[in-house]
Every structure is written in structure tokens, then in C-alpha cells.
Amino acid sequence: MKRRDFIKFSTTAAAAYTMGHSLSSFAGSNDIGNVVVILCRGGMDGLTAIQPKERSRLQKIRKSCYINTPLKLTADFDLHPKLRNFKSHWGSQNAAAVHATGFSYFGRSHFDGQNIMELGAYKPYTMSTGWLGRAMELKNLSSLALNLPTPIIVTSSAGNANYYPSRFATPPKAKVEAIKELWANDPVLSGFIDETTMSTMNPDPSRNVKKLAKEVARQMSLEGGPKVGFIEYSGFDTHATQGADNGHQAKHLQKVDDIIRAFSSQSKSVWKKTVIVTVTEFGRTVRQNGSQGTDHGAASAILMAGGLIKQPKVIADWPGLEDKELHEHRDLRETIDARDVYGDILHHAFDISKAQIRDVVFPGSKQKLDLGIWG
């Protein structure tokens, strides 16, 4: 795969691909599924995405955030109306969700929470690699991120590459060679920069997540193409005027739905082997705050779509929304460790054993959860 095949992407949206590390790993890669992670920074409101049917309670405690015209999912849960494409995949048995789930992090800090969601650790800053990166390393996969920094979630002890188009012209070869020579003895810089990264790209000013997702799908559909796609989208931190059917949180859920739609429309050949999954650092307070928004909370929801899923379900051990049922009387209580959810996805998509996931990908987690959606 040539690097020039990759295009664009913005500072608020980033993408990473994983591809076969070597030809030998391609041989077995036909059996390997595809995982697309949508990293939702800021704290996605699980109760807005997947609204439990507790109408009177919710209308009382989150009056301006209550979804009035949801889409129907199950006897217990409704879906946000902006998640129309998710709903259509649900209709074809290719979507599922987990609720009241999180990273067992209750400190309510974005930065500690995001560190945990990317490392997969139980305490912030206690590991040096990301959980997705460790999983890829087990299968001898390397990653390529489509943004300026390398996302922590895909870092592992194996090398990671990233790509992002530049408006600056490509430097003449002699200049690059001179610099490479100066870097040769530097323990950090040597090894960075090769000619393939210096190809000239046409900037795409649109910076649109739909185009990004389509490109991820196109690349993943290629023979020997990447197995992991990574899309980052921030803005879920709706402390003020969160909105309900429409509004800020709805706008961001719309983007998640756009990503799912764009990917599925472009990924025909690999859709049946794919699972797209959301990751967020925490959910939001069950009660709305004084500015018609919500503050940092605990558990949230995980959305999943893709052909690997065969049974539409909302998996939840529902903790309830009454005062005494909430974490510290304010947040949705976590009843499912998100590590067990992502672990089961990695187990089915990449054929990584639960023991390996427990030891390497998510140390300290139980990995006893079977989502029961794989057919």
C-alpha cells in the first residue's frame, strides 16, 4: 500500500490504519476481522445516545435533555433520533450497544479519564502503551495514524507511523539526506522520516469526518489493506445547553452516525467482517445541571455496528436511575467494565485469546463477558 493513497484530515478528526506487518501475516489475515474505533473525546452522554424507558424519572431530572421523539430499539431502551443509520444496521441485525459501562474511572477528570481509555489501565499514567496497540502487536500488526501526533491508544512497543497531508512543499532530497545524517546517532530521532513520508499531497480543506470515514473504508477494503481504522472526534463535553433531539450532544451523535454511514457505504467487501465501536472517557451526570447541560459523570454507553455483529442487542445490567441507585447520588453506575466489552470484540475480530487479552491487552480485567452478538 502506497502512502500517497492516504488523504487529508483535520485536527479534530484523525484516523489510523493498521496493516499487515509483513507478507507472512497477510497469509492468515483473511480470517482476521476489521475494527474501527471512533474515539469520542469529552464524555459522550450514554443516556442521550441510548435512552432508557424511564420517562417520568428522566423528564423530571433532565427536562431539557429528554429525547422526545426517539427511535425504538428494545422493550427497555430507545435510540437517539440522529442515529438513523445505526438504526438501519440494527434492522439488518448488524448493530448492538452496551449500556452502563465504563473504565471503572470515577475521578471525573477528562485528562485522567482519556488517559485511562487509551491505555486501558485502571490508573492514569501507569502504562506506556495503548490497549489497541497492544492488541495489534499480538497479531503482528503495525499502525498508521492520519494526524500529526500518534494517538496513544495505538502506541505499542512496535513502531507506529502516522501521516497527514501538508501544504508545505516537499523538500529537495539533498536537504532530507543531510538531516537524516545528522539524526543518525540520535537515540530518539534516528529512524524517523523516510522518503515515502515526504510525498506531496494536495490539501483537502474540507476536514470532514464523512470523507475521512470513507477513506478509512476504502483503504480497509484494499487487498492486504489495514485491519484497524481509527477516527477521533471531540466535542462531547456539553456542560451548557446540551439539547435533546437536537442541539449540541445531538450534533455530535450525528457525526458518529455519519461516520458509520460513510464507512458502511464504502466498505462493501469488508463490511461483513467489520465492527465499528465507540470509546469515550466517561458518561455525564444523570441530572441536568444549572445551564441545561450535564457535568462529568461515570458510566456511559458503547455503540457497535458492522457485519461481524449478527444479533442486535442492548447489553446491560441496568443499575437504575433513582437517587439511591446512582453513583454518589449523581452518576450512572457502572455495571460492565468496558475493558470486557472491547476484549470480547478483539477476541472475535482478531482471534486473540481471552487469556492473552487478560494478560497483555487489559491487564487486571476479568474478560469473562460474552456479548452474545456474534451469531
Binding site: 471525573r108 477528570s109 477528562h110 501538508s166 529537495p172 539533498a174 543531510a178 538531516i179 530518539v188 515526504m198
Partner: protein
Amino acid sequence: MEKTADWIMRRAGFGFNLTKDPISQKEWVESTRESLEKPELYIKDTRFKEFDQLVNSKLKGEEAQYLSGMVKSANGSIVYRRTYQDRNTKLRDAGDIKAANRIWNTYIKTRPLWASSHRRFDFAMNTDHDFLNRIWFFWLNYFTVADAMVSLPCVPDFQETIREKMSGSMESLVYSVITHPAMLAYLDNNSSVGVNSIARKKGWTKDGVNENLGRELLELYTLKPSFGYTQDDVNGVANVLTGWQIQDWDGTYQVVFEPNRHEPMSQKILGESYTGSGKMGKSKLKRLVRHLCSYSATGVNVSFRLCQHFISDSPNPDHVRELSQIYDKDKGDLSKVYMGLLEILDRLPHENSKFLNPEIWTYQCFKTLNLKPFKTVSLNNHNPYAQNIDAVLDEMGMLHGLAAQPNGWPETEAGWISNEYLDRRLRFSSYFSGFVRGYKSEVIHLLNDNGLNKFQLDRFNLSPYNMHILQSKVANENIIPALFCSPEFLRS
């Protein structure tokens, strides 16, 4: 031989000027000490006024009419003129929504950000107070405000406020920052109302408490989560912060404390009670900030961050302790802390070990070659605003007003070293070396004809091996990009 100031000028400032002879480190430290002792000299350096006149003089036609720059509001704060918004309103009223949106987007997305980028650049190139100026940059990142749609119009004044307050006490800096309209808007505190307030009881508003600013006040600006404060403490802080409002109907972004919107119920925060009606709101907040800044944990937080910015990604605990002890002893007097930091920097060995972020590195490229800021790079012919330093910084991945989250840009090399970040340094330095040829600068002339002599190269603290490579293997026309991308220049 006496140490030259070349190393410390790159570590603690914006670099040395290759067209001037080196001075001694002793001389540099001495003048920097004086600058720290008399911060008013730096504060009085209001070059932004000249800068703004210059910018305005370059604008033409309709642009000039609507991008008319910073003005002083009634209370003396600097804001952007309302004309752009007025134009927007007129177009909207006339039914031309498309044109209205276009002009609004141009205003909000380019002007304040563009102007503030240039002011930072101009200061970096021209101030006599390099160390204080670097400290200013440090605080601008420490107190990130980055919400383009809400807070940017008052960002220039926010930046000036930090510049004025950062050499006083931590508590006065924090108080000024958290009651500034840019911060109140960025962290959603401008509509935070106490649930037992008069405004709520009389039904004037249905708004209530918002904890966003209260949480970051504890988490980022003072104690850090490791201190172990609780959700009750966060709630208490959020309640003490109720009542602050932005009034911007005249376009001047005045901050008003509205006692009727303040929470009158007594709050318990970290064991202390904060009691009093709305009338006491301001003094309660002042007391709270004093309380938070009086903890050693706040001093340790500030000291650690300063050490991380100026000394090492993983600061030596002795250095952090040295500064935090000054913080404790001098009751958060920041100029004393900076003085302590200067003493540490003065005795550090001359090792280029701290990776420079893209912005400081870019400015150092300009400064080293003695290039003036206003002739900058045109990247994009379709957008006149892109012919400016902010377009370069955006391309480099670090346009200060666009940090994604309230914790700002990374202070460590892990956040700045990736294939693509490094690729940008190569591209920029190559582009730069071509573009600087247009300058009638002695140093460029020299470089193009002769490369650099050993005396000049010696100033860059290069390893013997890289010195050899640059002298023997690199063609003169490649010397600028090679030098600027050398491991020794990427670090300081």
C-alpha cells in the same frame, strides 16, 4: 573561558541572534535578573498598540472597514471593534444569510486569532525581556482558552491580563484569569447561578450551577486531582463561583458580578466554610482562591510545570522542591519563583536536552537569522489571512488558540515527536531557507555564499560528529535546513 549566553538564550528565551556577537551567560543572567526585579518594564512594553496600527494600516477597502482592530472599552480592556458583528447583523436583517455567515466566520476565525498570533511573534522577536516573555507563553498555555466561537474576541485582553498579573502573586493571577470573560465563557461559568439565589427564587432565571470551571480550578490551575479533594469540594467551589456574568451587548465583553445570582448557602470546601449572601460573593471567591493558592500542592503543581517547560520532561524532584519551597516561603510570589528558576537554569550544564515545541522552535529559526516578523510566508493564495505566521503555526500543528482541551499543548517531547511532526520541521526549514533568500540580510548573504564558519557553528552546541557533517558534507544551500533540523537545534 567564560560561558557564552548562547545556550541559555535558547533554553530560556527565543534564541540568539547570529548577526550579533555572543554575550556572556553572566551578563545575560544579570540583565534577566533585573528584568524579573522590575516586571513593570516588561508590562509597559505595549508594542501591541504599534503592532495593531501596523496591521490596520495594511488592510484595504472593505476589509479595513470591518477588520478595524482592537480598541479600548470603557473599563480599559482591549477588545475587538463591533463593526464586523454590526455588518453581520445588517446582512442578516437584509435577508442575506449566506453573506452574513461568511463575514461572521471570517471575523471570528481569522481576525482575533491572527492578530494575537502576530503579537506573540512580534514580542518573541523584539522584546528585551526574553525570559519573562517565555514565562508569558508558559502561562498562556497553562490557562488555555480555545473556544473559537465564544471566547476568542476577548482573547487579546485575556493575554494582556496574564502578562500584567504573572509577576505578582499566584492568587491574584488565578483570580484575574478565572474572572476574565474569555475563561468564564470557555469553561461555561458565565451562566452559573446559585439554586438558592435571589434570581432563582424570584424566577428571573431557571439557570443553575455549572461545575466546569470549578473543577478545572482545582484540577488544572491549583491542587491537581492527586491532592485528593472530593466531589463535595468541587460542588462547593462551583457554588462560590456562581454569579459571574458576561455582558456583551455593547460588544465590549464586560464581566459583571451579579450578587442576585450568587449562591447564598454556606459552602464547606477543604474544611473551610464560605458563608455570606451575594454581596459577599466577590470576597468569598477571593478568599477561596487565596485558600487554594496557599496549599503547597499548588506551589508544587506550578513548580513542576515550570521545571517541565524549562528544564526537563521528567523534572528532577530537587528542582521542583527548590521552587516550591520558594513558593511556600514567599506566599506564592511568582517573581521569586521565576528568580529561583533562573538560578537553576544558570547552573545547568550546557546540554541540548529539552525538545522545543513547534512554536518556540519556529520563532527561534527567525530570531537566529535576525529576520523581522512581518514578512512571513504565503501558503495559500486564496486566503489573504493565511499569508501569516498563524498559517505556519497551524501547519506545524501548534496554533496556540486551537489547543483541543483545557490542559493545553503538551510540555513533553512525547507530544511533539511523531513522523508527521518531524516531517513538518523538515518542510518548514526547507521552505524557510528558500524564502529567506529574498531578504537583504547579511547573514543570509553569508550563508548562501560561504556557509557558516567554525566560530558561527560553535554557537549551536553541536556534537563533534554533527559539526563534522555540517562542515564537510552539507552544501551551503542546505546549511539552514540542516542546522535548524539538527538534533541540537530541535532541542535546547
